[in-house]
Symmetry: D2
Subunit: 505 residues, 4 copies
C-alpha cells in the first residue's frame, strides 16, 4: 500500500553510551521514516563550563547519516540522548531546518524535542505566536511547542513544558531533553504509540528508555516496562532514579508525571496495527504480530477464499510481502479451520535493495518501480487460483500492478483480499495519506465490484470494520481506538486549513 511512514522517536536516560544506543534504536524504527535522522545528547562541556546539547542530523537513512562512527566517541557525548527518524506529515521536505530533533537555547537552558504526530490546532497556535512577534525557523508543528515553552509564564523547564502542552491539541508523542531530564509525552488521545523501557547497565546501574515501538528496546537489550499512558507527561530524571534506587526494587517506578485532560477519550491509531508498526513490536498493549494474525482470521470470516470447481486444484494464498505476511498466515489458518482447502505459498519475491526513494528512469516509471520491487514466482502461480492478501488498499495503484504481474505469471484466477476495510478518509493525526479523492474506494463510490474491476481481479473483498475492530479489541484488551480513516469518525476536531496547507514559506 502507498501510505508513507511518519516518524520514529527514541530517548535514553542515564547510560554512558546514550547516543550509540539511540542510534541502534533508530535503526529499529527506520521503517517509520526514511527521509532524515538525528540524535541530540545532553552533556556538560568542561572547556566552556556549561551544559550543552551536541547534535548531529541530516537527510538520509540512519546508516548514512551516522556513517562516521567517530561521532559517538568524540561528539555525541553525555548520558542522555533523544533521536528521531522522519517522514514529515507537514513541513517542507527539502528544508534542512525541518530535520528533527530540534534543539534550542532559552531562559531555562537547552531544550531538545523529537515529535511524532500532527497538532490539530497548529494553525491557530502559529497565528498567535506570529502576532506576538515570534520568528519561525521551520514550517514544522514541532517548533510551535518549543516557542510555547519559551514564552510560557511558568518558571522552570518542567512547569513551562506542562503549560505548553496544555495548549496543544491533536496527535503528539514526544521525547524531550532538558539539561537534567528526559521527558516522554503522549497526547491525551494516545494517537501515536510510545513505550517505556528499562536497561540494566553492565556496571550495575539502570538506564531508562522510551521509543515509538518496542522493537527499539529489543535491539539494545532493554525490557518493556509499560506504555506511556495517553495524556501522560513523564519526567525521567536523577531524582526519580534515586527514588527507584532507594526503593530497592528496580521495577518500582519513581518518576513524576502529570496528566493532560482527556477531552476526547482514548483514540489509539488502528492503522499502526494494520500497517505502520513492525510485527515484532508491542504497542497499545499488544504484539502487532498477534493483532495482525487475528485480523487475518477475521478476514477469513468476512472474505473467504473462492470455492474451486470440482477437480480444480486447491487455491493458493499469497501475501504481498512483507507487511501482510502475518495477516496472511492467520487468514490461511482460519480458512482451513473453516473448511476451505487452501495452501499458504510464497508467490511474490520482494527485492529489498530498492527503497522508498527509488525512482525509475523512463516513461513507464510507475510500472517499473513495482516490477523492480516485486516479482512473481512463476512455476508456483501457473494455472492456479490465487488469493492475494494485502494489509490494506489505499490508492490501489500498486495492487493493480501486482495483479497484472500475477496474471502474467499464469495465474488462472486472482482474488484479492484486504486485511483492512476500505480506506475512505484522510488522516489528520500524523499519517500521510493521499487526498480523499485519490483513495480507490472514493473513486468508485465504495462500490467493491467496480473497485475489483479496476484492479483486474476475479473477486475483491475486505475485512469488515466490525471484524477488524473486534480482532483489535480482543488482542489488545482495549477499546480506545481511532479508525477515522475507515469510518470518517474523527475523534478530535481539526482546524480548517490543517487539511490542506503545507506550511512552507
Amino acid at each position: 500500500m502507498s501510505v508513507r511512514d511518519h516518524c520514529g522517536i527514541v530517548g535514553i536516560f542515564n547510560h554512558p553510551e546514550a547516543a550509540r544506543l539511540t542510534y541502534f534504536g533508530l535503526h529499529a524504527l527506520q521503517h517509520r521514516g526514511q527521509e532524515s535522522a538525528g540524535i541530540v545528547t545532553a552533556t556538560y562541556d568542561e572547556a566552556r563550563d556549561r551544559r550543552v546539547m551536541p547534535t548531529h542530523r541530516d537527510f538520509g537513512l540512519v546508516l548514512d547519516v551516522f556513517s562516521d562512527h567517530d561521532l559517538f566517541r568524540s561528539k555525541l557525548l553525555g548520558e542522555a540522548a533523544i533521536g528521531h527518524t522522519r517522514y514529515s506529515t507537514s513541513g517542507a521536505t527539502d528544508n534542512p531546518a525541518n530535520i528533527q530533533p530540534f534543539v534550542v537555547h532559552y531562559q531555562e537552558g537547552n531544550l531538545a524535542l523529537a515529535h511524532n504526530g500532527n497538532l490539530s490546532n497548529g494553525r491557530s497556535i502559529r497565528e498567535d505566536l506570529v502576532a506576538k512577534g515570534t520568528l519561525f525557523n521551520s514550517s514544522s508543528d514541532s517548533e510551535l511547542i518549543l516557542h510555547l515553552v519559551a514564552q510560557s509564564r511558568e518558571q522552570g523547564a518542567i512547569p513551562r513544558i506542562i503549560d505548553a502542552l496544555h495548549q496543544c491539541r491533536g496527535a503528539f508523542s514526544l521525547v524531550m531533553l532538558t539539561d537534567d531530564a528526559l521527558i516522554a509525552v503522549r497526547d491525551s488521545n494516545g494517537f501515536r504509540p510510545l513505550a517505556l523501557g528499562r536497561l540494566e547497565r553492565e556496571d550495575g546501574g539502570v538506564a531508562y528508555c522510551v521509543a515509538s515501538e518496542t522493537c527499539a528496546f529489543d535491539i539494545i537489550g532493554a525490557t518493556y516496562v509499560r506504555d506511556v499512558a495517553p495524556g501522560e507527561i513523564l519526567v525521567i530524571d536523577r531524582e526519580g532514579l534515586d527514588r527507584v534506587e532507594r526503593a530497592g526494587d528496580r521495577t518500582a517506578e519513581g518518576f513524576h508525571g502529570v496528566c493532560l485532560p482527556r477531552d476526547h477519550g482514548v483514540n489509539q491509531c488502528v492503522f499502526e496495527y494494520v500497517y505502520f508498526s513492525r510485527p515484532d513490536s508491542k504497542i497499545f498493549g499488544a504484539m502487532v504480530d498477534k493483532v495482525r494474525r487475528k485480523i487475518g482470521k477475521a478476514l477469513a470470516h468476512d472474505a473467504p477464499p473462492p470455492v474451486p470447481d470440482e477437480g480444480e486444484k486447491r487455491p493458493i494464498v499469497i501475501a504481498v510481502p512483507d507487511s501482510s505476511n502475518t495477516a496472511t498466515l492467520g487468514y490461511v489458518t482460519e480458512c482451513r479451520k473453516l473448511g476451505h482447502d487452501v495452501r499458504y505459498e510464497i508467490g511474490l519475491i520482494r527485492n529489498h535493495y530498492v527503497g522508498r526513494t527509488f525512482i525509475s528512469p523512463g516513461q513507464d516509471a510507475r510500472e517499473m518501480k513495482v516490477r523492480t520491487k516485486f516479482n512473481p514466482v512463476e512455476g508456483l502461480l501457473k494455472d492456479r487460483i490465487v488469493v492475494m492478501v494485502d494489509d490494506s488498499i489505499v490508492r490501489g495503484t500498486t495492487a493493480k500492478q501486482l495483479v497484472k504481474m500475477v496474471r502474467a505469471a499464469g495465474a488462472k484466477e486472482v482474488h484479492f483480499r484486504s486485511a483492512a476495510p476500505p480506506v475512505i478518509s484522510p488522516c489528520f493525526y500524523g499519517m500521510d495519506f493521499p487526498t480523499e479523492t485519490e483513495l480507490l474506494a472514493n473513486q468508485y463510490d465504495r462500490d467493491v465490484e467496480k473497485m475489483g474491476a479496476w484492479l483486474g481481479v476475479n473477486s475483491l473483498a475486505y475485512v469488515s470494520v466490525d471484524g477488524m475492530m473486534a480482532a483489535v479489541r480482543e488482542a489488545s484488551g482495549s477499546d480506545g481506538f481511532c479508525n477515522a480513516c475507515f469510518t470518517s469518525n474523527y475523534p478530535v476536531p481539526v482546524e480548517r486549513g490543517v487539511e490542506k496547507e503545507e506550511n512552507e514559506w
Copy 2:
C-alpha cells in the same frame, strides 16, 4: 549464512533502450553482488565516425551508480549493452580498475566483457602473459581473457574469442560485446548459470537477452528461451537475427554457436539452488523455489522436528528470513505429512534497511550487526519449542547469535535444521567462502553434537548429501552438479596458488 554473493551479468541485443533494460536487469541481480555495478553499450559515434563503447561503472549499488538518469538519454546509447554487478572472488576490492564490465580497444575494434566465475588456470595464464611483456591493469581473472583475445593469432573478433576461451579452465559465465555482436559463454562444466531470453519490442522487432538468472528477464518483460549450454559460445548478431526473421518463426534459433570441449562433464553449482539464486529464478532447468521446497522436504526426512512431551504445545517452525523461507515451507508441509504436529510461523523479523556493508560502531559490533538485522517476535516464541531452519551453515557465527536471541525471547527449546549438508570445503569455482579452517564443520571435526553445543541448540541436524542431491536431481531433471563444498569432490583440478593468492599488487 555468511557466503557472500559473487556476480551477476546481463546482456541485451537489438533494443533501442538496451542500457535502460540492462539497468533493470542489474537491479534484479543485485543480490549477486553489491560492491560495484557497470554498463557498457555499443554504438556508432557520428561526430567521430567510429564505433564506440560508452561506459559507466562505479562502486556501489545499482541504484546509486546509475542515480543520474541522464546517462540513459545522453551517454549509454546504442542497441546492445552488457552489465555487471559484482562481488569479486579474486582481485583487490578497492581498486576501481577491477570494476566490470571491462572495455578495451584492440586490433579488431572495441571489446567489452562481464564475467561471473573464477579461472582455475588463471595463475599460469597470467605468468605466460607477463613473460610476453603484457601489462595488467587489474588483478582480475577477467582481464586475462581480454589479453588472450588481443594476442590471439586468429583473425576476426569471434575466432579470437573462441581461441582465447579454449585456453581457459574453471568457472566462467561471460557476456561479451564486440562492435557487432553480443556473445554469451558458459564454461564446459556449466558451473555458473546463464540463460537466453527473447523480448518482443513495441515496434514489432525482437530483441535477445542473456542473464545469470531469469528474474532479470521478468523485470523487463522478456521470456525465457533456454539456458546457454555448458561449453557453448553463443554469438548473437544481426546475421542470426536475420535468419530468425527469414524463418518466419520467432522461436526458431538462428544464432551460431561453438562448443568448448567438455573435459570434466557437466558440473553445475548446487549452492546456486541452496542459497545464491533468487527463488523466482529458473536456473539449470528448474525454478529455484521448487528445488528449495524439495530440499526442505528431504530435510523433513533426514532431520525431523523433536517430538514434544505429552501435554506440551506443538513445536513451531521458523525460517531465517528470507533465504530459507521456501525450504522451511517445504519442511513444514512434509513434516505434517509424516505425522509431526508442527506449525509454520514468522518468528524472526528482518530489517532490510541495513545491507551487507553495514558496520556497527562499538566493541560488540558483530552481535549488534545481527541484532540490527534480525529481531525475534517475542509473544510467539515464549515458552515454545522452536525449530529454526536455515538454508545452510558456513561459519555458524550468525546462527549462534540468532539462537541466543530466540532463547532470550523466551523459547523453551531451540532446534536448528540446515537445508544443506555441512559445508566442509572451500569453493574455487566462483564463490567466496571462508577458508577451510574457518568452516564450523571443520572446527569440530564434523561432530554434529559438538557443533550444536557451540551453537547453543537443543538439537542440530542437516539434510544429507544424498537427500539434497536426490531433491535437486528430481526437481531439475539433471544429474550434472558440483557439490564440492559439501563433499570435497572437486571436478576440475585447481592450480596451486589459486586457493590462497589475492592477486593484488
Copy 3:
C-alpha cells in the same frame, strides 16, 4: 598579516537577473569572507499565491556554493536579491544555521538580512530577548536584529525595522529584503563601508544596487552613486523608483531614508584602507589604491630605507604580495623623491592555488603553509640589501617565516617596513583580530627593537599613527575614522563579555 576577513554584502533591486548579478557581486567580495556564501531573492510564487524568498546558501567559496547554475534559472527568481560572503566575527563557525543571509517569516511577511559588523550591545539585547521567551536558532548577532523587528510594536515592515535598529549599537552595515523593498543601512559611526550604485538595464529600465565595496559594481557594470551615509536607513522600493522616473533624471534620488542618531560621531574603519578592501574599490569616499599609495609615501618619511655603504649595490624594495603592492609602489616613489637610491622588485612569488583554509600535513605545518604560499626569487635577492614592505604586522608569525626565507635566498640584509602602525588592541567592531596578548607589539611591550630581533631583521620600522592618519585624511577628504586597533581609542563603549564570549551553545 593574519587578520582574517569578515563579511561582504550585496543587494540588487529591480533587475530580472537579480540573483545572477548578486552572484557576480559576491565573487568580487570573496576576499571579505571565504567561509560561506548565500543569496536570497524576493519573488511571487504563483502556484502558492504568495510572496516567497527562495534561498541558497552553504559553506564554501562563492564558486562552489553556486556551482549548479540551474539555481539561477529555476530557483533564485525575482527582481530583488541580497547576498553575503562571510567570515564570522562571532557565532560558531561550524553551525549551518549561522550562514547568511538569514530569512524569516513574521507578521508582516518575509524578511531577509545580510550583516557585516558586530553589535556592541549584542549581549544585553540577547538577554532581554531570552527573558521574553525568544528562541535562538543561531549564535549570531544578526539574528538579534530580526527578533527586534518581529517583536517591535510598530506596524509595517519599515517602521519596525527603524524601531529595531534604534536599539542596536556598534558596527552594522546591512542589506535587508522585505517583500517590497531593499533596505541598506550603515550604523551611525559608519564603521563598515556600504555604497549605492545604479545599473542601466538593457531594456531601458534602471536597477539599484548596494555593496560593501565598489569592485562589486564594476563586475556587473553598475556605476557608483554615493556611499550610504553613516546612520542612514535607505529604503529602495518601487515608489522611490517611480519618483526617479517622474523626475526624468536618472541621477535624481527618489528614495526615502531615515537617519539614526549619531551618538559618537563618524568612525570609519581605517583598517579597511590598510588591508581589508580591494585596491580597486572606492570606500569612504576614496579609492583604496590611492590611500595605500599615500600611506606608502608617509612610510617613506617615517621609515626610510637603510643607506648602503659606499660601493654597495642599491637596496631593493619588495612587497609581500598582493596586499602591500600598492603601498610599496608609493614607498619606492617617495623614497626616490627623498633621494634614496632604491629599486622596486618582485622578490616574492605567491602561489594562489592554496587559500585561507589550507592546512599543511605534518609537524612543521605552519612553516610549510608559508612556504607553500610564498617563494623568494633567488637570483634577485642574492647578496642584496632587501627592504620588505608589508601592509601591517599583527602576530608577526608569517612575517618571521618570510624573513627567514628571504635570508635563505641569499639576502645580505633584511629591513622590514610596515605600512601600518603597530597593532596594539583588538577590534570590537567587526574585525577578527587575535587577542590582545597575541599581538606582536604587546609581546615585546611595543619595543620595536625587540620586535625586530624576534622577526630576525636588520631593522624594523613602522609608519606613524599621525603619518598614516594624515595620508588617510588627505586622500579621503574626511576626518571621521576609527583607529582603535592602533591607538586603543574606542569610539563606542563595548559591553563586558563581547570581548571574550563566543556565543556558541
Copy 4:
C-alpha cells in the same frame, strides 16, 4: 593569454617522508596542471612479503586530491616517490584511467611513470603495439612507453627502459620509479625542463629529487644541482648513493646515466620562459624572472611606448597580472633608460579565487569570466595614456576584454605590448595551443594593424623574434631553443595525425 598549462612532475629518492615532500613539490608545480594530481611511492609490504607501489590520484587540485592527510601516514609509505599534476595535451580528459602517475606490474616487478610532453611518433608506436595484441587502458602517450618497456627483449628494468626510450621521438621529460630506483629522463631535444636537486635529511643522510621546475626544490628545502641533460637517462639508486657517500663529497655525482642520440640538436621550449614556468624557477640554466626581465627590456627597444603630446601626463604602464609582471618591470626600466617618461602602475587587480575551471552562468559567459578575474583600478586609469603589457597574445580574446575594461575605466588611450612575438603555429611538443586558424595572428594574416583594430587599441606592438631570442640566449647562456610557435620552424618532424587526433575511444 589562453594557452593552458601542461604537466608538472616530481620525484624523490631516499627520504623517509618521500610522499609528503612530493606533495609539497606538486603544490609548487600546480600552475603546470590543475586537472588532476597523483603520487606513487615504492615500498616493501611486510604482510604480503613483496615490493608494492601504493598510489593515490584523482581529478582536482593537489590540495583537494590529498585533503586526507592520513594518506601520508598510512598509505603512501616508502622512501621513494613520484608525483604528477596534469593538464593533458592528448588523451581524453574525463577518463580516470588517464590520471598519472601510471603504475603497472610486469615481469621485472612494479613500474611507475609520470610524463610531461608529447610523443611525435605516438601514433605509429600505438599501431605497432595494437598489431602485437596489446590492450590499452588509456588514450595517453605515456602508456605507450610502459608497453614498450614490458615488451622489450632486454633483461632487467633499466635496460628495458633504455631500450623503450630509444624508440620514442618528440617531447618527454619523465620520472619513473622501479622497485629500486628513481629514473629521470629528458628527450634529446630537451623540450621540457627537468632539474636535479639534493636534500640534506635531518638525520644526516642525503636525498635526491627531480622536478620540472626548481620552485619545487625551494618549497622542500632542496638545493639545485643541475639540469637533467637533454637526452639523459639518469638512474638514481642505492648503488649511486653509496658511491656519493664513499666519495666523501656530497656534491660528487655517483649516478649512472645513459644518453639518447641527439638527432635534432637541443631544442628547449622558449615558451617555458615566456609564460609557463614560474618566475622563481630556474630552468634551462637561468632564472625565469631574469629572462623575462630581459625580454621586457628587448620589448622596450622593439615596441616603445607612445610619446605623449606636450602637456599631456606621462603614460602609465600596467601589467596583466601576474604572468607579465616581471617583463613589465623590465620594460619600464628600459623605457626610462631610453628616455621615455613612463611610470609602472598596478592598474588591473586579479581575483585569485576563481581558477581555470571557472565557468560563468548566463549568456555573456566569456565576458563575465574575464570581469570576474580582472578589474581595473579606476582612479588610476582615468584620462591617462595606458600601456598594457602582456606576456603574449594567442587568441586575443582575453586581451580584447581587458582593453574594453580599461577603456571603460576612463583610459584616454590604450597601447598594447606583447612580450612575445605573434604566435603563429601550434605546438606538437607538449603545449596545448588553439588550432592554427584560431590564433589571432593568423586570423588577420599577421597584419599587426588589423590585429590592433580588432583588439580595440590605439597601438599594438610585439617584441621581435630576434629581440626575444637574443634576450633568452644572453640570460641562459645557451643557444638550443625551440621557437616553432613563433616561427613555424619545427625541429622534429611530426607524424600525420598527431596534430588532430584525440586518441579517445
